[in-house]
Amino acid sequence: MRWHHGPVTVDAGVPTPTGAPPGGRAPARRRYRPGSTEIFGLILLAGVALRGPISDLLKPGGAETWLTIFVAVNVQALPFLVFGVIVSGAIAAYVPPSFLSRMVPDRPLVAVPLAGVCGVALPGCECGSVPIAGRLMDRGVRPSAALAFLLSAPAINPVVLVATAVAFQADLRMAWARLVAGLATAVLVGLIWERLGRPEWLRPRVRSAPEQEGPRWQTFLSAMRGDFAQAAGFLVIGAGSAATLNVVVPHSWMQHVGSSILLSVLLMALLAFVMALCSEADAFVAASLSTIPMVGKLVFLTVGPAVDVKLVAMQAGILGRRFAARFAPLTFVVALVVGTGVGLAFWGW
C-alpha cells in the first residue's frame, strides 16, 4: 500500500469510525455489511408513508419555521459544497503531492500569508472550502497555510466583496475594511496555529486513495462521493443548529443594543456565530441592522465567514473534533479582535 502521508495525516494507529484497521487491509474492507441500503430504503419508505401525520404535527408554532429554515440552509449550501468537493476531488485525482509541495514555500512566514491571499481566487462560500482545506493538508500542504486558505477564501473572494459593496453602497469603506479584516484574521490564525498547533489534533477524514491504481476518473468520482457524504452529513448538523438558534434567539436583540461599540461588537460576534449565514448574504443582513455601529457590522462580517455553528460542525467532521474544539475558539477571538481593531481604524469610536 503506498500512502502519501502529508505531515498532518497522523491517523496511523487510530481506528477509523467503523473500527476497520487503518491503512486498509483489504479483507476487513471487503466484508459486506448487509442492511445499509435496506435500512436507508426502510427509512425512506417510512418517511413517505408518514409524511401526512408528521407535517400536521408540525403545523403550530415555530416547528414549521424551523423546518423551512433547516431545508433552506441545506439547499442554499449545497451548490457551494458541490463546487468544493469537485475541487477537492480534482486535487485528489489529478494533482500530485509533489506539485503542491513545490508550489507552497517552505517558510511558514511566507507560506501562510501567501495561502491567505490565494483565498481571493476561490469564489464560493465557507461550506465549500472545508473539504478543500482538508484535501490540501492531505496532499502535504502545511496545516497553518491550509487553515489560512480555509479562513480567507470565504471572507475575501471577489463575489463576497462585490456583494458587500452592493449592500453598503452608502459607505464603500466597508468592502475594504472587510478585505483587510478577513485577510488579517486568516493570516494571524494561520501563524498562531503554526506556533501552537500540534499535528495530533488534526485528524483529517479526507485521505487520498493511493496513486496510479485504476483510472484517475474513478479516483475523482469516489473522492467526490466520499467527501460530499462526509461534509454534507456535518452540514446537516450545522443547518439544524443554525435553524434552531434562528428560531429560538429573539431577533429583537439586535434592536436594543443601541450605539455602544463594546456591546454591539460582542453581540454581533455572537450573532454571526449562531446565525451561520452564507458569507455572500451576510453583508445584506448587516446593512439592514440600522442601530448597530459600523464597527459592530464589520465584526459580524469578519466572524461570520470564519467561524459559526455550521462551520464548526463541518470542521469537526472533516478535520476532527479535537481540532475543531481548539480552532473554533481561537478563530472566534482573533476575528473578534481583528474586526474591532480594523473597524476602529476605519471609523474611529
Partner: protein
C-alpha cells in the same frame, strides 16, 4: 453507510435538487437567482451518484483494493443526509406569519444608497434617513446632533391607475419620500395577512412580506399596518389598493406605516413569495 448506499443517497439528493429547481419550489427556501446554481449542483450530484452506484455494484477486485483504506467508504456522517431528504418529503411551506412575528424589527433605513441628485444626502446621527414627517421635503438646513439631515429621492411612480409597488418600496416611500408619492395617491401592494402583534395596541392587522437576501435563514419582515378587523384569515395572500397615512410610521411602532385600504382581494401565493 456503505459505498453503495452512499452513492444512491448522493444520486437521490441530486435528483431532489433538480426536482426542487424544475418545479420552482426552490423559491420557497432560497432566493430565486439560485436556480441555475442549484440545477448545476443537482445534475452534478446525480451523475456522480449514478456513476458511483455503477462502480459500487460492479464486481471488480482491483477496484476494491484501490478503495481500501478510504475511510469514507463507511461513513457514519452520511446517515445524517437522510434528514434533509425526509425534510424535503414533508415539503415545508414558505415562511409565513410565524416568521413575521419572529423577525419583525425596526423598519428604519440605514446605509441606503444616497442619490447624488437627490436632496439632502447627509447622514443623521443614527446613520439613517430622516423619516418623512408628512410636511413635504425636509428643509436642507435641518441639523440633528451636529449632522445635517437627509431625506431620500425616489423616481416617479409608474403611470396609470393604482400602479404596482413592492411592499418594501411602499414602506420606504411612506417613510422617506418627501414628495409623498404614496400618501397622496393610491398604489397596489401584495402581501399576506398577519396579526398586528404587540407593537400595535388596537385590533388592526398587518399586510406583511418577508424579504431574503440569500435563503430563508436571513429573512426579515416588511410590515404595513391596517386599522380594523382583517377581512381574511391570517396567512392569506392579498392584493390591496392602499394609500399610506403621512407620518404614521414612527420610532414607537418600529416605523411600520399605517395604510388606508381602498380595496383588498384574495390572491394565490406568488411563485416567489419573498421580496427583496
Amino acid at each position: 453507510m456503505d459505498r453503495l448506499t452512499q452513492s444512491i443517497l448522493v444520486a437521490l439528493i441530486g435528483g431532489a435538487l433538480v426536482a426542487l429547481t424544475v418545479s420552482g419550489r426552490f423559491a420557497l427556501y432560497v432566493k430565486s437567482g439560485f436556480g441555475p446554481l442549484l440545477l448545476a449542483a443537482g445534475i452534478t450530484l446525480m451523475l456522480v451518484g449514478i456513476a458511483c452506484v455503477v462502480l459500487a455494484v460492479r464486481p471488480e477486485p482491483v477496484e476494491h483494493r484501490r478503495h481500501a483504506g478510504h475511510d469514507h467508504d463507511r461513513s457514519k456522517a452520511a446517515w445524517l443526509l437522510v434528514l434533509p431528504v425526509l425534510a424535503l418529503l414533508l415539503a415545508p411551506p414558505a415562511l409565513g406569519t410565524d416568521a413575521v412575528a419572529r423577525t419583525a424589527g425596526s423598519q428604519a433605513m440605514a446605509g441606503a444608497p444616497p442619490d447624488p441628485n437627490g436632496p439632502d444626502q447627509i447622514v443623521t446621527g443614527d446613520g439613517g434617513y430622516k423619516p418623512n414627517d408628512g410636511l413635504g421635503a425636509a428643509p436642507s438646513e435641518t441639523v440633528v446632533d451636529g449632522q445635517q439631515v437627509r431625506t431620500m429621492a425616489f423616481p416617479p411612480l409608474p403611470a396609470g391607475k393604482n400602479p404596482d409597488v413592492s411592499l418594501s418600496e411602499f414602506v420606504q416611500r411612506a417613510l422617506y419620500d418627501p414628495t409623498g408619492s404614496v400618501t397622496t395617491r393610491t398604489v397596489t401592494i401584495t402581501g399576506f395577512i398577519a396579526p398586528a402583534g404587540k407593537t400595535f395596541s388596537d385590533d388592526g392587522y398587518l399586510i406583511a412580506q418577508l424579504i431574503i437576501s440569500c435563503c430563508a435563514a436571513d429573512a426579515r419582515a416588511i410590515r404595513v399596518h391596517v386599522d380594523g378587523a382583517a377581512p381574511f384569515p391570517e396567512g392569506t395572500w392579498v392584493t390591496a389598493v392602499v394609500t399610506a397615512y403621512p407620518g404614521s410610521g414612527t420610532a414607537a411602532n418600529e416605523y411600520v406605516p399605517t395604510a388606508a385600504i381602498a380595496s383588498i382581494t384574495r390572491r394565490a401565493q406568488p411563485d416567489d413569495p419573498y421580496g427583496r
